[in-house]
């Protein structure tokens, strides 16, 4: 794994890279690389077995600078176009989890000609009436000042699962990890709060533009993005495979069931 800093007109973007081959852009979520972990996790390394995996950290997160002006999803999408320009990448495959999946879908509806294949894991971004994403901000405020059980349940299948306890422990955690989580919540607050529930109301109607092959993966127990969002993505993306549900996994299915999700992705991306 190598880490580097891209400079976009004085704005720093922190990037982790691993592997060789055709570029696969990885856009992260909360319980994920950059969102909690400073390094790639086993899932990402497995994806990099036969691809060049490129995982930028969102603005303000894990070494990337915050944006100076404009934080709408449109601005974030432009930000990633600039990141791709700086990397010199014209065509790519993209995979995104959670808020990263939202950004991947926005890229796909704007520039379908640049994207070979699209994969989404527990992605937000859609407005699905009666099925809002859960309130991650309220649950990031610990109970009794120290207890993150409800946040863990939102992001994982169980508040007591090993990865849940590893990345969102009760009490005061490791300072770097706490800061990274805070930065990811701050990014979420910038991009996912206007409107406040991590959606772009117009996106669902635009999905028809994204005609590339698409794979939509959802944890059966997703406590953040309801599974109805996965069904809406799979129904709206013209060339999506049937929705893949990971039994027993939560929102961060790629962390909890890393190996099987990675296998699905590898056979999809080739």
């Amino acid at each position: 794994m190598t880490g580097r800093i891209l400079d976009i007109r004085g704005r720093k973007v922190s990037i982790l890279e691993e592997g060789h081959g055709k570029p696969l852009i990885y856009l992260h979520g909360f319980a994920d690389v950059h969102g909690v972990s400073g390094e790639l996790l086993p899932f990402h390394r497995q994806l990099a077995a036969n691809r060049r995996l490129i995982a930028p950290a969102h603005p303000g997160v894990n070494g990337s600078d915050e944006l100076r002006d404009g934080w709408s999803i449109n601005d974030i999408t432009f930000h990633y176009l600039e990141v791709l320009d700086a990397l010199g990448i014209e065509r790519f495959d993209v995979i995104g989890h959670c808020a990263g999946g939202w950004i991947a879908a926005e890229l796909a509806v704007r520039h379908p000609e640049r994207i070979g294949k699209l994969a989404l894991i527990g992605a937000c971004g859609l407005f699905v009436s009666g099925q809002p994403t859960a309130d991650i901000f309220m649950h990031a405020q610990p109970e009794r000042g120290v207890d993150y059980a409800t946040l863990r349940r939102m992001l994982f299948s169980s508040p007591d699962s090993a990865p849940a306890l590893r990345w969102f422990p009760d009490g005061r955690g490791d300072l770097d990890e706490e800061t990274r989580r805070y930065q990811m919540l701050r990014f979420g607050s910038f991009v996912g709060f206007k409107p406040p529930y991590f959606y772009d109301r117009a996106l669902v109607d635009r999905l028809g533009r994204a005609r590339m092959p698409a794979l939509v993966i959802w944890g059966e127990q997703d406590g953040f993005t309801p599974i109805a969002h996965g069904e809406a993505f799979a129904a709206g993306l013209p060339n999506a495979r049937p929705l893949q549900i990971i039994a027993g996994a939560g929102h961060a299915a790629h962390i909890e069931s890393g190996e099987s999700v990675a296998k699905l992705c590898q056979s999809f991306f080739g």
Binding site: A140, G145, R172, L175, R186, S189
Partner: protein, 415 residues
Amino acid sequence: MPGPVQLYCWHFLSYPHLAPDFDETQYSGWVTVPNSLWDREKSRGLYQQYIDQLAYADEIGFDGMVLNEHHQTIYGLGPSPNLVAAALTQKTKNGKIIILGNLLPLHMNPLRVAEEYAMLDNMSDGRLIAGFAPGSGPETFNYNVASAPSREQFWEAVDLIRRAWTESGPFNYEGKHYPLRYVNPWPQPTQRPHPPIWIPGARSKDTLVQIAKHGYCYFLSSRSHGKETAKSVQQFAKVLSDHGDSYRPNRMGILMSCYVGETDRQAQEESKEGVWYFLKNCLKGHQRREGRQLTYGPGVPYIPSDEFRDFLKFSDPTVPLLGDTQDWDDLQRSQSIIVGSPDTVYQRFMDILEHAQVGHLLIQFHLGNMQDELSRKSMRLFATEVAPRLREASAKLFARNFPHDAAAGRLETAK
């Protein structure tokens, strides 16, 4: 010579009709507290009672009355403090009317605040103190105010309002958040150059810098008043001197709660119901570990991440908050809610003034579900038996410690 400490009566307008089992049965007093608990019949006349208490404070010689803005909470029934302030302009004659403050990021257009405050300044004949606050965690949830950009929005809104009051209109405001082609509010405030501006703050250096730069008054929004307050004063003094200014008591205020009775024992007996109601019910969700406090933390990320990192380094999430207070001795140690005879209360306030040298004490008298007569009696004892001594002793104290206070004329003494 600097003048005496200014003593204001703060009213939170709390909801007083909760059932005794509220704490056992309800998760929070904030944001999600079910409004089916609102009792329409018992609540008749409640606002009138609170407005009358504030008018009484004016009558008995307090330097002013303080209101603030809260939403969807039993803690404070003042989603629009400007309405209560408008009533006070008609019912009072002397004291300052302090709104601390309108929560600017909740307003689609801060010009509306510039207009309403200017109306209040005219309606009160120049008695308004204009507080502005950015809101904190609960507003994130109540009004869908995105935390992360809210500070930047806030300072832009303050800038827009100050310019709307001081520059001739119409002018074009090239704001990032509030661009406005025609800034030209009618009326203009009565006070020149503008009503005093107060800004609450606690942890952010950036807030102090802005306050120092523009000559605003710093209201320390903290509930612990031991060494911490003195530390905050020193921090503010340092920022002021970095900006070519010097600290004076009239640049800073703090919030206290108080109950004065004839004797220590009587004060404790009379106040304890209201005090515990305030601590256990009103602070649940705000200044209490039990449940989920929504005011500050990772879910409401309104400060930059380096400031949050510093906060993590120097804080302990298991340290009790004011609402976690277990018993009466614990409470007295907190130095936040001061209960006792006039002598005791005088002594304890003087201790704080000697340590902290702050020129504005904003004092909450009505606590939780406190009865009207008790609130008024406590205010009266304070005004007659504590305030005169505090004024005299603080004037001497400040004269001794700030002998070269060039701003003597600026600090308005009581009538």
